[in-house]
Amino acid sequence: MVKMLQRVRRATVLGVVLALTALVVPDSARAPVDASLVKVETAEGVDHPAHVVWILCLGSDARPGQRLTGTRADAIQMVGLNFRTHAATIIGIPRDSFVGIPGHGSNKINSAMFFGGPRLMGQAVGNLVGIRPDYVFTTGFMGFRHMVATIGGVRVYSRFSFSDPVRPQGYHRGWNHLNDFQALIFGRVRHPLPRGDFDRSADQQELLRGILRGVRAKQNKPGFLERGVFSATRNLDTNLRPSELYRLALAVVSTEPRKIRSCVVQGGTGYVGAASVVFPNVGQARRYGNDARRDGTLNHGC
């Protein structure tokens, strides 16, 4: 049945191509050929000093006027990139995960940002997953929206339908093209989702995929990458030299979205005092880390 559908689809595509050809090619034996169908092959590669890089991507919930790296992180995604195979892994950590914070006892993992900024946050997540990130990338609400707006919105696959005032037509199950504000909400809502924090984390991973797809679609637009890195040198709190940032950006963009595998660390929910928390499945988190640490690839799935 599947094969038959594939054949039908191929036949349909061929039919469309032939129909278009019939429309644009003059019906004359003597007319010069002014339409063609040519196979195009592509190749890409980039030289980066490391062939596997781990970046802890954080979405800060800093409000206007608050310091980005001094407030709690709402989105926590550990991203591993293999610059040779162009594959990637995303490991999502629920923000309410109750873990040890070095020097600060046990607390929700997102509080590490408040206590010690990106460095401590990197340590806390690193201890849970068993991978120390090479970079910690933090963005706030406006930084995220600006990023999405730059690529003209983002196309994401939603596993659930839900409504929100920022998107009058609602978020539909399937593909949705979101503007910057709608994308922000897509990454923040959890109440309409069956598994709350866990499903939200998976949606954040889908946003990362969508943003990568958008950036890759524009990467050969003259000046696009340079403008993006230039903007980063102006607006990003970073200790990387521009040339390092440029190489890193090129390497990240070389990641193929179809080669991204993502998992969310699961766990049970409960309370510590009055606080609602997630008790993360540490064994599972370590398994993901062990699986992907060396090659940035989740070879054994979730």
Binding site: E41, E44, P222, G223, T233, R241
Partner: protein, 203 residues
Amino acid sequence: MRPTLVRTGVLAAVLTLATACTGGKEPAAAPSPSPSASTGTPATIAAQPVPLVVKVVRVSGTLPKANRAALEHNVSSVVSSYLQHAYLGGSWPRTDFSDAFTAFTPGARTQARRDQDLLTNHQLGASTQAVTAKKTTAYLSVLAPHKVAAGVSANLTLLYLADRGDAQPALVHVVGRLSLARTDAGWRIIGYHLARSVRAVSE
């Protein structure tokens, strides 16, 4: 010659294109020793070597005029070296493209060798009698946050005709991006994202 071109913002580097693209395509008065000439294949494709045009068209940040001219010159040498070794230069037919990526950094070279079917004329090399460049342009987008170029994207367009003796000539179109950065050895290609298409053309 170069200062004039630099003043106009364009660096046109003919370099060795003239000698590299003419196997079998020289006028009758100056017969070429190329294989196509020796086998008597009629020269049906005009050999008109075209200059490599390299021009800074976008700067993210600030790049003083003098730096801009120097950058065009340096990048032109790198891109020209790659195009010559990979697509346009050398004797034909040939299948050895091992020196095609000398303008690449070691890491990029390793990856490029795996992609040599697309990044060189390797696929057609064995049947190619001569190569004629039709268009070679590299328009540069520069990252220069501190008045010095930190990275460059060269938007490349390469169009060449591969004369294949008795077989139909092939028109090869290579477009995309070469990414360059300054290294200890000078400017080098650190990445690529290129698309290549080939179509047979009537003589």
